[in-house]
Symmetry: C2
Subunit: 213 residues, 2 copies
């Protein structure tokens, strides 16, 4: 089923998941698509359509069971599984990602950072060691690493992606402002910070307020 | 015109801008929509439609003048103007943003970081001082700051947004996983890292390769 659901729908799922988690924390047991609409800003009919893609979670006149929908969306998003990850580029951004609290909640475990700067090789971020990037390929193969994160400068990003591809990784979370070329079996999810910044600039120049999403 | 162009089109502009910058660096003077299509992955007709929203840059049989289109897109994106910015939250992520190279290229100048942790107040990131967050509102008013960046934990994000709103800021670049409530005249651009991570997880679980955008 995953193949057929459009990327636009899939990109809304994390937002549903986040709000459901907050409702769950507040002890709220059920919610209507209308109430979810108020929270998320999507229309009620869009929400019903989106969730129908993955089976009928809602019941007419009752709405959605919050904890059930939260759990099911978590499974759909693959958050019920633990993935080992490494980070290439142990500068500020790499360290921020290594320290990122949402990371382990999402089932990602960072086993090591890698860098080429001898001044920081051997240091630890939390309990995670920074190792020489020359050791990365073997480390990935030996430690069942499935996700590679790229927080290097743009100039090094494709080289790192090539090493990741050779080492048998399955997914890349890329923070470098570059479109990586990788074999078809590897998933790439980009966080293009400069593009986000340009969007902000666009709206500021036009004096348009409101949420830009 | 800005009002009428859809957000989907606007979100593609930074990608065009980035590729045109690379072509310019390589000394390439003109490019067809077909060649831009190969580079960006968008169809040639979509590219022509997108750019037509902002006036007819292309010429039949010639294509686009790279430096002209780059300059015009830069103006559309508001990159020809300098904005003063501050960062609330001077942990790893705030420091990474302060160090971020793409920032000044986009015309953003970080004047100060702010934090509540006395251990880091007074330190400098590059030449940018970390100040007490209690001084933030006045600093913004006195220094013509237009953009506020939020790199605090989620729990503090709304408070910071409230201070930003009171201080007369026009735009917020938000890295906290929270949907901020702000007055209508303020633009909010969110970078939701956990949502991006969930998308990666979704595709990994399904063993689907390829670029997830």
């Amino acid at each position: 089923m995953g193949n057929k659901v459009s990327i636009t729908v899939i990109r809304r799922l994390p937002k549903y998941y986040r709000y459901l988690g907050e409702l769950l924390n507040k002890g709220i047991a059920r919610i209507s698509s209308q109430e979810l609409s108020t929270l998320t800003g999507f229309t009620a009919s869009q929400i019903r359509q989106d969730l129908n893609n993955f089976g009928g979670f809602g019941q007419q006149g009752y709405g959605y069971n919050v904890s059930e929908l939260y759990r099911e969306l978590g499974k759909i998003l693959g958050l019920d599984k633990v993935y080992n990850a490494v980070i290439a580029g142990a500068g500020n951004l790499g360290q921020a990602v290594a320290n990122y609290r949402g990371f382990e909640d999402a089932g990602f475990k960072v086993l090591s950072l890698f860098d080429k700067n001898p001044k920081i090789i051997g240091l630890k971020i939390r309990d995670i060691e920074i190792r020489d990037v020359d050791l990365m390929e073997n480390f990935i193969k030996e430690n069942n690493v499935e996700i590679g994160i790229i927080t290097t400068p743009k100039e090094n990003a494709q080289d790192i992606a090539n090493t990741y591809a050779k080492s048998g990784l399955r997914g890349i979370w890329n923070f470098a402002p570059a479109d990586l070329k990788v074999p078809e079996n590897i998933v790439v999810e980009n966080v293009h910070l400069n593009e986000s910044l340009f969007i902000l600039s666009y709206f500021l120049k036009r004096n348009l307020g409101g949420n830009s999403h």
